[in-house]
Symmetry: C2
Subunit: 298 residues, 2 copies
Amino acid sequence: MNIVTSPEQMQATALALRRAGQPIGLVPTMGFLHAGHLSLVKLARQAVPPSASPTGKSTVVLSIFVNPIQFGPNEDFNQYPRNFDRDCRLCEQEGVDIIFHPSVESMCLQDPAVFVEETALSKGLCGCLRPGHFRGVLTVVAKFFNLIQPQVAVFGEKDAQQVRLIQQMVRDLNFPIRIIFGPIVREPDGLAMSSRNTYLSTAERRDALCLVQSLQLARSLYRQGERDAGKIISAMTQKIRDIPSAAIDYIEVVDDATLQPVQTLNGAVLIALAVRIGKTRLIDNLMLPDDHLCQIPD
Amino acid sequence: MNIVTSPEQMQATALALRRAGQPIGLVPTMGFLHAGHLSLVKLARQAVPPSASPTGKSTVVLSIFVNPIQFGPNEDFNQYPRNFDRDCRLCEQEGVDIIFHPSVESMCLQDPAVFVEETALSKGLCGCLRPGHFRGVLTVVAKFFNLIQPQVAVFGEKDAQQVRLIQQMVRDLNFPIRIIFGPIVREPDGLAMSSRNTYLSTAERRDALCLVQSLQLARSLYRQGERDAGKIISAMTQKIRDIPSAAIDYIEVVDDATLQPVQTLNGAVLIALAVRIGKTRLIDNLMLPDDHLCQIPD
């Protein structure tokens, strides 16, 4: 496994691999890896199988970069958990070929002037409460796409809005890249894995189950025939209000393609929520009727 | 020479050429070609010499696309001159390998949602008077870069602000592309070549010389030792006001790197102007002290 910190070296390596016909799969992360990230590594390898490469090899790149321009001024950029040595061991075990781990300085993000911005899908959900967040995400992901030259990039469905925005960017800017949505990986009790779960105290860890439980309730109501978004949101809201440490940022039922709120659950919808447990902001989601990416236990 | 209209086919061709190690040089245009564009084709070929390619060949792609999202609602998108048959003959004579000529529909620009935006260099000069113009330019150029996969792209210095913005985008988004600035090509009497010159009546064509003449005056004052930007702008303004059909959009003296106005001409500066002759908006510019890209006659 190689660790590359220089963007120039990463790009030179990637261009050489492409000239050799060797496909590259990318898993972009902010590090502090968990089983969710590692599941994306497996998906990346499956998507660029060595057997289908003219060289008999493929390259899986996992990037680790806590991206300053996707954090707001009062958010947790400085506190975001980091453990590079542990991340390296996990990547080694998982068969990652290259860890790309650039510094903020080398990525020229101290005073950026060029941004990739999305003006439709990015407006609702997390985009409302985190102005500039998705602009920061898309800008850095575009940089990584140009530096790493992947044929395939894998993003986790927990960040449902993010992965849809990235797919939209790839289409609209014609990146020659296939985006794969990785299913949410959950703890045994159903909590969606997140590097931010490490912020939770023991009591908060228990309270944090209200996110998945509210989604279980929504799915149960849906299966009983409920199609009124307002009623589903009310039931979810009540479930979360039962937890004193929980404060709702949003609970929304949106069209899965447009991310616009719906009143009636027809066709493919996404139920997404963001809830603060103490000082920790967590997100989770459920797709209906096809919920295979969300992996919510019964 | 091949004519490609499908973005998918263009990208598949480009990726195959890159896998073969064959370098690609790109000349993006809006068509209605003149000697200025053809000089950029020569520069592109020089920058990707067949002799330096492992295949003994290189590919020069000239794109022809009147980009709707870089025109404002009251600008000349519909009137912009087009003559595809003539453009093809000129490209054939010049040894262009591929003309990329997509439709607006195939470029998915009817209702775009993802944009590339620059927030510093784009604010002054033409960016003030043409809101959204450079966002439209950068977005489409990013699309072309992803579709055509060039190692080198050549842009004309007449659009001085545009080429600096594109270079900034390439740096900030890490496109693996070298940008080459092509010198301004002028008519024998000094008028900068532009597809929009075709709009000019005989009288306006004569009046249009006030742009280059005002730049000649600026250079002459500079050579006499004048370093006060205000005095140079005043002299240029007076020169243009002598022409009744001319209306000044702007005359500015800016730092060549930041494009911020300067009061004193120290270091590398750009003197840029936009002037309407009748209904035709023309631009021209002069770099000082090194004016080799501007080709202003004595």
